[in-house]
Point group: C2
Chain length 365, copies 2
């Protein structure tokens, strides 16, 4: 164990529903519990594997919906049961982080919390570990730290962070002051950001001292803070369920961590970093990111084709045959087969609206 990470607690957020990767990702088994990269480890398992070398296993927490607790325990059996924290209902990222924070507060007054995602691809895990260790150092000042992804193109689907002056070097990484958080830009603005050079993507990964984030909750999100104060004494007691009922359930509509805390934080810092990161926000992202075979296709299935290229094929059981196809996504599951051009992959959500309209919930759950 790296000595300067002894107070580090990686907190993996794993409560998402991953609807953009339907039909493989379903409510009963969303994206983070699937092996989407073909390496026989789920995205959650990969998130665990990435931080496991950095700390002792009992420092790693997973926050998820109570529905998924059994899946998490099965997929990460090394994790102590108490480290799998269930939310009885999704109340946004700030609430999930707050819930983790009160667990850590009770355990270690010097806890440094690294908020990590379970459903993003990170192809440079050693870099992640290096920057997390850097974050532990910087976090001692009380600043709230974001990991900022160096943008490779003018994406309009992410928030951006405008970076200012350098704050110094921590574990061989340069930290910078956050000038401002910027919401998802239009195409022209995104282009400006990328050209300017001092903008990074907001990755949704953070590092901070637990006392620092709790102080910001108290200052900026007093309702959430009060709820967490109500919940804290009931954790690990027979009163937990009724406390969640009383304090957690009413948190509907609580702002996200970005809106609720980061944008107005007294001190916010950023490590710009190239993690080989991708949020796999659609099937098209997987087609782009995964290694291609000799014919330029990504086939997680037996794929036989004549003159097909840039095809993503997913099937556990059946052979997929294609003729003369280009830029296409084909996802086969037991009950439904999805076919769409790669450039329409964002419209899966429109399709799910159709399913809901017809009450075909069996294909969604």
């Amino acid at each position: 164990m790296n000595p300067n990470t002894e107070h580090l607690y990686p907190v993996i957020l794993a409560g998402g529903v991953g609807s953009r990767l339907w039909p493989r990702s379903r409510k009963s088994s969303p994206k983070q519990f699937l092996d989407l990269t073909g390496n026989k480890r789920s995205m959650l398992q990969e998130a665990f594997d990435r931080v496991q070398p950095l700390t002792s296993t009992d420092h790693i927490y997973v926050i998820t919906n109570v529905e998924y607790i059994d899946i998490v325990r099965t997929q990460v059996p090394d994790l102590p049961a108490a480290n799998v924290v269930g939310e009885p209902a999704a109340r946004g990222s700030a609430a999930a982080i707050g819930l983790a924070a009160i667990h850590l507060q009770q355990r270690d007054p010097d806890a440094v919390m690294a908020v990590l995602t379970a459903d993003h691809l990170i192809r440079k895990p050693a870099t992640l570990r290096q920057v997390l260790a850097a974050g532990v150092e910087l976090a001692q000042s009380g600043t709230l730290i974001t990991l900022g992804i160096e943008p490779s193109y003018a994406e309009t689907g992410y928030g951006y962070i405008e970076m200012g002056e350098a704050l110094g070097e921590y574990n061989h990484r340069i930290a910078r002051k956050v000038v401002r958080f910027r919401e998802k830009p239009d195409a022209a603005t995104a282009q400006q950001y990328v050209q300017a050079g001092n903008f990074v993507w907001n990755s949704g990964m953070f590092i901070w001292r637990v006392d620092a984030i709790m102080a910001e909750f108290a200052r900026q999100m007093p309702e959430l803070y009060a709820a967490l104060q109500g919940l804290a004494p009931a954790l690990h007691t027979a009163q937990a369920e009724s406390a969640f009922e009383r304090y957690w359930i009413p948190l509907q509509g609580t702002p996200s961590i970005d809106y609720g805390v980061m944008e107005g934080a007294r001190s916010a810092s950023v490590f710009p970093v190239d993690l080989g990161w991708n949020d796999i926000g659609s099937w098209a992202a997987l087609l782009e990111v995964l290694p291609k075979d000799d014919d330029g296709n990504v086939a997680h299935a037996q794929h036989l084709h004549y003159d097909s290229t840039n095809i993503l094929v997913f099937s556990e059981k059946r052979t997929i045959a294609t003729v003369g196809l280009r830029d296409m996504i084909i996802v086969d599951t037991d009950d439904v087969i999805l076919v769409m051009p790669a450039n329409r992959a964002q419209d899966v959500k429109q399709l799910l609206v159709e399913f809901k309209k017809r009450s075909l919930f069996r294909f969604l759950d």
Copy 2:
């Protein structure tokens, strides 16, 4: 029963393998035994239904591969067992027709044989019956009659028949002399044929007296004729199997009925006719021919889509979901799913070459 059809024997050729409609059509259950139009009757059953009002059921013959005899008996249980004639191996259309002819010769010296296809769509069955009755009259002269399909566009995949003078009217249908049979033309030639107005498609359906076709076999295809003469006495006897071994198996390479007989026939006639005919030579043909739903799709499956049109979807068990698709074929079976643009449907045969290369015969059989 129409009195002038008492010597009519419809002979349905049902030995094809239908590889262009793979993966639904397989060696073990080819095209003619499938319900491709969604009306719960196979193409063979529809072929039987079309001629059944014209004659007594025991006049109807089906020629097929011995492998398919059980399927034929199951699908057309009304047919007497002796009317299902098995070929131990496919030896082309002339040989199949010859085999039917020797059966009929033994039964009725005045037999008129109507050669029909089991794997084509005919949306005007009453017109077919009318022209078959007309053919029985005209056939008495000893002429070999083809049903010629009035071309709706300049197809290059069919043979054409150049028609000459009218021979008269038979059962309200005009018959014409055949000037010449023309092989599959190039695009420019096909265009000329269609513009000329006196060309029809060769449908592969014929009417003739059995003695007339046997005489042409004797004159133009003496090897086939000799083999048939060898086979005839053995039919329905214990020697049938060894006779087929001796006379039938060596017929490999025997020309088709078009090349072997029709092109050189002493007398050939044609009824030009609009039968609502389609040979369903590809999945694209089905997309074109079958009625479309409100969104312009042909769905023989539960099809849920967002912004998809001109899609053909076939699945017995699964729901097909599509987003932003155009002009696409999706065929789902238990072990394989085929996806291709409609305009590439002819290339299914190239795909099957790939399967054979890899010895994946389980997907073909």
